[in-house]
Assembly symmetry: C2
Homo-oligomer: 253 residues x 2
């Protein structure tokens, strides 16, 4: 007897940014799988059970959740932001593809959320106002050479870039290298936004030119947006400058 | 005396996908500017006023909203999806930059939302599970040659691609050309998702291989996701196949 598995995005961390659809999905489930800080955001009922796991355990977490759903459970896997952007939805799909056949009969659903780059962009103005890309800087699951190749091609294409997973204790040097790669392909004046914990109490926003961007300006909770050559700053009296990318593109890159 | 202007994202169109933060911003405003179908989604109070305008009038709409805010109004500009992704936030920033100096003193805020590609991806599985880009196929504000260049570089980078503004009455041929460009750079087996009105009553999802993708499968309300060479299909009994992009990348493109 097959149950259900819903992968839910809780948004950037602010209660006001969780959708009603996500809250409904949480209300309807009995068992919750996720990284501890995401589970900590939920206000669960007494009958609802937490199955917390550490970061970097995405695949085994997905398998445990699917096993329980296949046995008839009403299971929820929680992600921060949007579960489809560098988060749990792909890990669950990967587990379904490689798992027992009955996992394909589970009532599987993904509930979208506000992903970090959208929250950071909103705080800064409209830096994602034109064509853009999102890149994970983690080389746990792909070679660093591929990341560098994508950075160079994205700069050549004139994409604004959002970086997820910019640094971690296991990967202290990648972000500095990424900035060096970009400095060889973009003007040093291009604005770089460091958006930490956007929408949360410990939010911290910072905008610097690419020439001055350093890896110690980011931590694991930071989403970074690197402007294109067309991204602009608007100075404002008594407020941080607005950063935006115009809707029109004239320059070829 | 300066008032306030909030640009609000209403999400893909389903009431369950509007954030509480967006609803609060709507409650606090007196005057609402936007494209008619987005204004039609609001349940306004008797004292709240609608200032509807047609599509393609983004800049004049932004200027009208800023003029009212600069005079002390509590103004809301509404967008579908996320206002920072091919929507009103960039148009308002552009108007601020080029407008009178006192527009820079307006209390300006952007409230993020669930953008179309996230809702479409959630319905399909996890096609944006790895590095991806978002491209507007409208050549109203940029040359078509630049769009073709970006398509080719995105294919070379191995990005999954989300297309906004894929077709309109004024631009019937661009999407077919875009598919032709991609067929020269990607295998015909790459899955293409046509997600129309995701989350709404008239939702329609369709997945075809790139070899079979045609422009008449999309309309103005469609967001298209083109997989990378690594994007996979999972067949399921009695349900549409899941589409997902694995978290790991092995192939270079």
């Amino acid at each position: 007897m097959s149950g259900q598995l819903t992968v839910v995005g809780l948004g950037p961390g602010n209660l006001g940014q969780i959708t009603p659809e996500a809250l409904d999905a949480v209300r309807e489930a009995d068992d919750f799988f996720g990284y501890i800080p995401y589970l900590d955001r939920l206000s669960l009922q007494p009958h609802q059970r937490r199955h917390a796991s550490d970061n970097r355990e995405e695949l085994s977490r997905a398998q445990a959740a699917l096993t329980m759903a296949a046995a008839g459970g009403k299971v929820c896997v929680v992600s921060g932001g949007d579960p489809g952007v560098f988060a749990m939805a792909a890990a669950v799909c990967e587990a379904i593809e490689n798992g027992p056949a009955d996992w394909r009969s589970i009532d599987f659903r993904v509930v979208p959320g506000v992903t970090a780059m959208l929250a950071v962009a909103a705080k800064a103005g409209a830096p994602l106002g034109h064509d853009f890309c999102a890149i994970s800087l983690s080389d746990n699951l792909k070679p660093w050479s591929l990341i560098e190749k994508r950075l160079v091609l994205a700069a050549e294409a004139g994409f604004v870039m959002a970086f997820y997973n910019p640094v971690s204790k296991a990967r202290p040097h990648q972000l500095a290298t990424a900035f060096d790669v970009l400095r060889a392909h973009l003007p040093g004046t291009v604005p770089v936004i460091f958006g930490r914990a956007a929408g949360r109490a410990d939010e911290r926003m910072r905008v610097v030119p690419l020439a001055d961007a350093r890896s110690d300006m980011a931590d694991m909770a930071t989403c970074i947006i690197v402007g294109s050559v067309e991204t602009r700053l608007i100075d404002r009296p008594g407020a941080e400058p607005l950063v935006y990318s115009p809707r029109s593109s004239i320059r070829e890159s």
